[in-house]
Amino acid sequence: MSNLLEVKNLHVRVEDKEILQGVNLTIGEDETHVLMGPNGTGKSTFGYAVTGNPSYTVTEGQIIFKGEDITELAVNERAKRGIFLSFQNPLEVPGVTLSAFIRSALEQKTGERIRLFDFKKKLKETMELLNMDPSYAERDLNVGFSGGEKKKAEILQMLMLEPSLAILDETDSGLDVDAVKTVSNGIKIFKERCKGSLLIITHSTRILESLKVDVTHVMSGGYIVKEGGADLVNQINECGFESLCKNCNENCPARGN
């Protein structure tokens, strides 16, 4: 299977601080990856860097997507090529409805105007799948949405935009059991419908329960310190990160130099 995303020796700086210090990570097509690790180790930074947030400066390394070096590519160009980031804290946009926002994004992606009727129909269906009140389509994007509604709105955007790689940054954090189920269901639909790949940044395993995880990456201190299969998730669940980081000392790329 060919590689969808290949990240090689990625170093990322935010202001004067080097957050990522040489991350290697590869994601194949139609795969589900999990990125775990203690707080403040650079997981979100990795998501931002792959998406292309200009506040995160790549000082070394490469990001290759679908065989193209996108390290220097603008955010919106990456999005058009199929990279999607579900934000941990989605922004509020007064005056722009959820529906209008998604439609603009779709039009930018396809480069043509979208028939309103078809769009509305698909939007309505997708919202139903996510148990979203259809009135949210005409509300201002994220304005006055609860935490759960914001996350659902992110998943809705993902399902509508059909990216080839979706990075979900703590999409499950702060959600109640029902909301996690809905989000997790949305992810399943994404896999079925779009055959896209996923990189799920998470703390908990709740969101992963109904998903088939292919690879688990553990990040600590700006490096990937351990990689494994789905069972690694369980291991972390039982023993926590600390034991894991101790055990992996000799394998850790950081320790070598």
Partner: protein
């Protein structure tokens, strides 16, 4: 000698150097043509909706200055929704007088639909009785110059005034020699006189290259207006290099038990918001367009009349 008219005075002056104390409009008062006067009234508990289109003569040089007076009086517990479509070709003054009796509501929606050489001077004087409210919605999308000068006196207890303004200042008309960008000059004064009165001023807009905007907003808590609340908010998105944005949000206060707030932000699109748009494949230019449209859309929601909505939407399509 050129004749002029001073409008949009602020109630507390500041440094002259800043040129914000008032605005001067070239105006020939002696040769101003009066358009028919209009007055709208409601009886107790009545609900009424009117659409008034004010249009001046586009060609006559004798009628290059015209003026129209409109009086709106809402009787007890009645509600009037008035739409004023300001179709200006030359120099047009539209003067509105609004009075509410107890528990009444006047909602005034004004839409600027003007030529690029047109000048509109729009004055609103309103008074509110007990528990009554005046809601004003402005759509200023050009073209030409507009001077909008409003004063609402909240005389009655628990009376309320709300202003929602959406504007887009446009660049000069392409290919026209000496053309200037749109100029929008807004002055809103709310006098809190009665107890427990409320005011809300929301101004949102975008300025393109060559556009000029001045916003003067005053909340004046007079002695005796205890337990009143006043808020003003302004958001300006700057979309062009050559813009002039002037803002002076004033709060005057002679009463202890009141709460007054103002807040605002002026600048280009915020970095985090831009990243959110871009991460969805929407580039800067399109994002700016969306946000400019949003400043009108936010206010458009306050308009129920379908044909008025359509006219505003058409205008929006035309300029964006």
């Amino acid at each position: 000698m050129q004749k002029e008219m001073i409008v949009n005075k602020i109630p507390a002056k500041t440094w002259y150097r800043l040129n914000m104390n008032d605005a001067t409009v070239l105006w020939d008062q002696d040769n101003t043509y009066s358009l028919s006067q209009e007055s709208i009234e409601t009886k107790e508990n009545e609900t009424k909706e009117v659409v008034i289109t004010v249009e001046d003569d586009s060609s006559s040089s004798e009628h290059s200055y015209s003026s129209k007076n409109i009086t709106i009086t809402a009787g007890k517990a009645s509600k009037i929704t008035a739409y004023v479509m300001m179709k200006a070709h030359q120099n047009m003054a539209i003067n509105l007088t609004l009075n509410t009796e107890e528990d009444a509501t006047i909602k005034l929606v004004e839409v600027q639909l003007a030529d690029s050489d047109a000048v509109i001077v729009n004055t609103i004087k309103g008074t509110c009785s007990d528990q009554s409210s005046i809601e004003v919605v402005h759509f200023f999308m050009g073209r030409g110059q507009i001077f909008s000068d409003s004063q609402i006196d909240l005389l009655g207890k628990k009376s309320r005034a709300a202003f929602d303004v959406g504007y887009i200042g446009n660049s000069p008309v392409a290919g026209k020699a000496g053309a200037k960008g749109d100029s929008i000059d807004i002055n809103i004064l709310i006098n809190h006189i009665g107890k427990k009165t409320e005011s809300d001023i929301n101004v949102n807009g975008a300025l393109k290259d060559g556009a000029t905007k001045t916003f003067r907003g005053t909340i004046d808590f007079k002695t005796g207006s205890s337990y009143s609340v006043g808020n003003e908010q302004e958001t300006v998105i700057l979309l062009g290099e050559d813009v002039i944005n002037k803002t002076i949000p004033i709060i005057l206060c002679a009463e202890e038990n009141v709460v007054g707030n103002h807040g605002g932000s002026i600048g280009e699109l915020d970095d985090d918001l831009l990243f959110y748009f871009e991460s969805r494949g929407i580039g800067r230019e399109e994002a700016e367009n969306i946000m400019a449209r949003a400043s009108i859309e936010r206010v458009l929601r306050l308009v129920d009349n379908e044909s008025v909505r359509e006219e505003i939407t058409n205008k929006l399509e035309e300029i964006l």
